[in-house]
């Protein structure tokens, strides 16, 4: 198995995880709203009121997305099979439609759409009889992945650098405080760490504020480094080795909700690292 084939397999696994987890979140939210909310409906920030019918529709679409993820899984195991490629193409289209219909895609949705498009491009190549895992096809996929991954990480890093609230550590402090607050309110989405009494002590402590500031600077630096790594300025293995713990650390901020984005962006980065933009288009 070539490096490119391994990277593609890993990227598809990340894509399947992201889609399945995203669908799972929708189903869990629907269950929570159906069981515990007056009128079995809820207000969604930026989208307004969603009644029982809207939630049920979301659930149905999420199940379709989950099925698409399941169909994509054989592609990871059988990357050269034409039958798997045809099914994968259908699954990519279905999952893409689910994301577009669900809401105007933002961070997770856009990252998933890019990864789905790249997988679809590769599967078109398999169906057309292009040499599977061979250098030209894999190089083109990697080149495109590198372009989009670099844009994502560089923009994310630069936005953070330009944000005084982020670079002062306030965003991290606010998120840590909010997570602890929500855990104390009974939310299972967040770890009950620190406890509210300890949180009060921490927020008052200069050491904690300094640590949050340092973590913020490190986060912006890591994202910019990953952007440059996605371009090919560092060896692919170094970029991936930096990305995995970084995304695990990001997951601590929102353990349940950030997994789809982390998985999708890691999948994009794996493809990018296999043949980054600075290696050339590979024709």
């Amino acid at each position: 198995m070539t490096v490119a084939s391994r990277a593609f397999t890993a990227a598809v696994c990340c894509l399947v995880l992201a889609l399945a987890w995203r669908a799972g979140l929708v189903l869990l939210d629907h269950r929570a709203v159906r069981r515990g909310y007056p009128g079995a409906g809820a207000y969604r920030v930026g989208r307004g009121w969603s009644g029982p019918d809207a939630w049920a529709g979301q659930c149905r679409r999420a199940l379709v997305g989950l099925a698409a993820a399941a169909v994509l899984l054989p592609v990871a195991v059988l990357p050269g099979s034409r039958a798997a490629a045809g099914a994968a193409l259908l699954a990519c289209g279905t999952a893409g439609a689910w994301i577009l219909l669900d809401r105007a895609p933002r961070f997770t949705g856009v990252c998933l759409l890019v990864l789905l498009a790249l997988v679809a491009v590769r599967e078109v190549g398999v169906l057309a009889g292009v040499r599977v895992g061979g250098e030209p096809s894999a190089a083109r996929i990697g080149f495109l992945a590198s372009f989009f991954a670099a844009q994502m990480y560089l923009v994310a890093g630069l936005r953070k650098v330009r944000s005084p609230q982020f670079m002062s550590g306030r965003v991290l402090m606010d998120n840590i405080a909010y997570n602890a607050w929500q855990a104390a309110a009974g939310s299972r989405e967040f770890l009950p760490v620190p406890s509210l009494p300890r949180l009060a002590v921490a927020l008052d402590a200069p050491v904690f504020r300094a640590a949050c500031r340092a973590a913020a600077v490190a986060t912006a630096g890591v994202e910019l480094t990953l952007g440059l790594g996605a371009l090919g300025l560092f060896p692919g293995a170094v970029t991936v080795l930096l990305a995995v713990p970084a995304h695990l650390a990001f997951t601590a901020i929102s353990p349940r909700r950030i997994v789809p984005f982390s998985a999708a962006s890691l999948g994009l980065l794996l493809l990018a690292a296999s043949h980054p933009l600075l290696s050339g288009p590979g024709w």
Partner: protein, 130 residues
């Protein structure tokens, strides 16, 4: 080789423009990647249990969807106008759009907090929750 260099160079220029656009555009647009560069969080509590003890307010009491973790004053207005919850609460909104002290008793009242004072108010609120 020359073609490779031209294509790669062109891609780098396009990437530079794409990055520039992404950094400057509204953080709500695709490819803007503004996640966590700012935040706005609601710290809401109620004393409505009869014994006067304060506790954090849960999402379902407000009718706020489980996914709703970014809360601005504007969104809180819209939320309360839509769901009109029974629970009476007060609290703080702390974040990029400013820090606010709020109170809800069928009607939302909000007062700005001086810049930098939000966390001190939050610490005081946390101590009263203990």
């Amino acid at each position: 080789m020359i073609l490779h260099a031209v294509v790669t160079g062109g891609a780098l220029v396009l990437l530079g423009l794409f990055v520039r656009w992404g950094v400057r555009t509204s953080p709500h647009r695709p490819f803007s990647w503004g996640m966590y560069s700012g935040s706005s969080k609601g710290f809401l509590w109620t004393s409505g249990e009869g014994d006067g003890r304060r506790r954090p307010v849960c999402h379902h009491e407000l009718g706020l969807a489980p996914e709703g973790h970014l809360l601005t004053l504007t969104e809180l207005h819209r939320l309360l106008g839509t769901t009109a919850p029974q629970v009476r609460f007060e609290g703080l909104i702390i974040g990029s759009t400013g820090d606010w002290r709020i109170r809800y008793e069928g009607r939302l009242l909000a007062a700005p907090i001086p810049p930098g004072a939000g966390h001190a108010r939050l610490v005081a609120a946390l101590r009263e929750l203990e």
